[in-house]
Subunit: 424 residues, 2 copies
């Protein structure tokens, strides 16, 4: 029986019991921070030998000492590694610093100041440039486009990716729409992997704006939860080439959740024209990225097989936590009709939807009981979730017993807030 | 006797001999690149043990694992290290990535987009923002202000720093002047260290623009050539505080020429208000800089004494090269009245001035004979040296015997071009 089907007095009785349980939680004085998708301490150990892999050989395979200046677009072995990860040619790759977010920011900053390619109008000269934002999505993406003053337009996410009917309609008709954020694999937070159809429709867009760009953040490209149910992503660069839109996409990724968050290496891939222009503009702001770190990564990870070997270790740590989330939420909420949540095959998040208008209060009650989730609304541009229902669950960082408690609390709180809503 | 005092026939005879010497050089098929201030291969060895200094302890002194996300403004021990280098309080420091140039670019980008402090007008909204550029100066600084469309105004460098009469006059009267580039110690390329008077006048400026900023690139702050003749720099942040201009200055530095170029750590220092606002804006573009590299540096270098110990090693490599430059130039050019050059106590460059209108041809003749210098004009905004006389000599990278040959060639070429000019 769903909550909505229960009688008022049943709901009132249930609410009383739930409140008692909630108060019980409160008295435990929990202090759990589940606000960000941080790897757990044990995950930081898998690559700690990376510092010892050089054996005093600091030369890149082209014979250049990585400790000195030069090679602003990265060393060859790092380009090759990221080319394998992103399924492109090494010539299409620029290897960056420790932060793919910074690289995205800089690419947008360059387009804002100078246009996407030589001779194109800078986005700063467009009266009100707009950006499409599949929602729920990644708050830090939205912060970047907010920084540059883009009007952000929500695009609903379906089970196979963004609503492509809406995307196609908007970009074909509005020249001021300059880009779309995409996390095409194990999307943040929904866990959705874009279907081949969606990827091909993205690659075949006919944008009114010649300088429309797909910002494809492939942050979770190899971040499977297990060896069986792995999602496959159609090659987005290839889809754009096939669609006659070779210059329309930038791909990004990093080793932040392969080696170390914040001390990894990021990279981008794009068409030859984009790579050439990007290299030129990035050279204004840096003599080069940290090539010593690039060499450490290339030598330690070696190739895509080396990467996948490490990812198996990460999956071993993460998988039981994702399973625990499902188990506790199923136990506490299944069949009550007051919540839906994703059950992804990879990535770092579970996307959780309350009944309409409940997410903020759920978040607040959790905080009051000592569990900090990602703030409700954060998965939407401007922090505004129009339905106030989405909450991002980040199960990776806490120990599994704390995660279990946090999920139990969440289930209780969701029931409380839902019943309050039904009784109101 | 100077060249100008010689008879025409003496000059013609001399020119013939010089041309023979020049052709002799050409036949050697030299291939020397002295275009950038790169450390020599042996200098890259001084800190190579840095990768082994952690002994498996990845925790910052505040107990946080540097391999995970967090601490966007840097780890405490790195802040303390840079506070000692920049002679400020650790609370005034933000520790960045591997490139101080990127940090300068980002600070200007932030001011351009959002203004220097909350509520201030973005520089992008100023009709034609301007920037003061002491010349000769660092080409990459000028590229950054060119990128953002600033009009760059040349400020002559004197022996004690920029022409402060001119700086004071310009900034007091023109609200569109938003900043000045400064390399206050062992300046690039002149080697000048700003005098206490100049620093105090900088700190006491009364700019028409409330958002005027001194971009103080202290790239060579500990880069002495020897233990005796070390220049002292008055504390610029202190001078600004004393002048009632606490918010007017950003200091930058890096370990690029202490540990590794391009794989070091950079930092900035500024007032509490600037640090707070900068931290907030930088957080849009990155979750954090590479803290593992920060920890490696803090553990390896330890403190200012550790830094100075490494700098003694660098000086041992560099000092004979700077001496060689002086020796060859003195031997070939002293007393001829056709060239002046600096003899700095530190830094990475010797600034060389030909007679007016000769630098480009000197550069070209050197290239033809196999020696690439920094392009003539590069030390001026837009690559335009109005007198066409300045050439930057970067003695650090080549082996000393190659450096000797390059300087001998330079002396010959300068004499050839000067005599041609006198005979014309």
């Amino acid at each position: 029986m769903t909550l909505a089907e229960m009688t008022k007095s049943d709901l009132e009785q249930m609410l009383k019991e739930l409140q008692a349980q909630y108060n019980g939680f409160k008295s435990k004085n929990l202090k759990l921070d589940m606000s960000r998708g941080k790897p757990a301490p044990e995950q930081l150990e898998y690559c700690k030998e990376i510092l010892y892999c050089l054996n005093g050989n600091f030369k890149s395979e082209n014979g250049i000492d990585v400790r000195n200046y030069g090679m602003p677009d990265g060393i060859p072995e790092a380009k090759r590694l990221f080319a394998q990860i992103l399924e492109v040619d090494p010539a299409n790759v620029i290897v960056g610093g420790n932060s793919s977010l910074s690289l995205m920011f800089d690419i947008i900053g360059n387009a804002y100041e100078k246009g996407v390619l030589p001779g194109m109008k800078p986005w700063s000269k467009v009266e009100q440039p707009k950006f499409l934002c599949p929602v729920p999505g990644y708050d830090r993406h939205f912060s970047v486009t907010k920084f540059f003053g883009f009007e952000m337009i929500n695009i609903p996410m379906n089970d196979d990716g963004p609503d492509m009917d809406l995307v196609e309609e908007l970009v074909s008709n509005d020249e001021s729409i300059k880009g779309i954020w995409c996390v095409p694999k194990y999307s943040n937070p929904s866990g959705v992997t874009y279907s081949e159809t969606v990827v091909k429709r993205l690659g075949s867009l006919k944008p009114a704006a010649k300088d429309f760009r797909i910002f494809c953040d492939n942050a979770y490209v190899v971040h499977h939860l297990n060896l069986e149910n792995q999602d496959k992503l159609y090659n987005i660069y290839q889809a754009c080439v096939e669609g006659g839109n070779e210059d329309m996409v930038y791909l990004f990724t990093s080793t932040s959740k392969i080696t170390f968050p914040g001390s990894g290496v990021c990279a981008m891939a794009a068409s030859p024209a984009n790579v050439e222009y990007t290299r030129r503009l990035l050279s204004v702001k840096t003599i080069g990225y940290n090539k010593l770190n690039q060499l450490l990564h290339a030598r330690f990870l070696k190739d895509i097989d080396g990467v996948l070997n490490v990812m198996v270790l990460h999956a071993t740590s993460i998988r039981p936590k994702f399973a625990m989330v499902q188990q506790v939420l199923n136990r506490g909420l299944a069949g009550l009709g007051c919540a839906n949540w994703s059950n992804p095959h990879g990535g770092y998040f579970v996307s959780f939807d309350t009944m309409e208008g409940c997410a903020k209060r759920v978040y607040n009650l959790c905080v009051e009981a000592g569990v900090t989730l990602t703030p409700a609304g954060a998965t939407y541009p401007y922090g505004i979730d129009p339905s106030d229902c989405n909450i991002r669950i980040s199960p990776t960082y806490p120990p599994i017993n704390e995660l279990e408690q946090a999920m139990e609390l969440l289930a209780i709180v969701v029931k409380i807030v839902s019943i309050e809503k039904l009784l109101a």
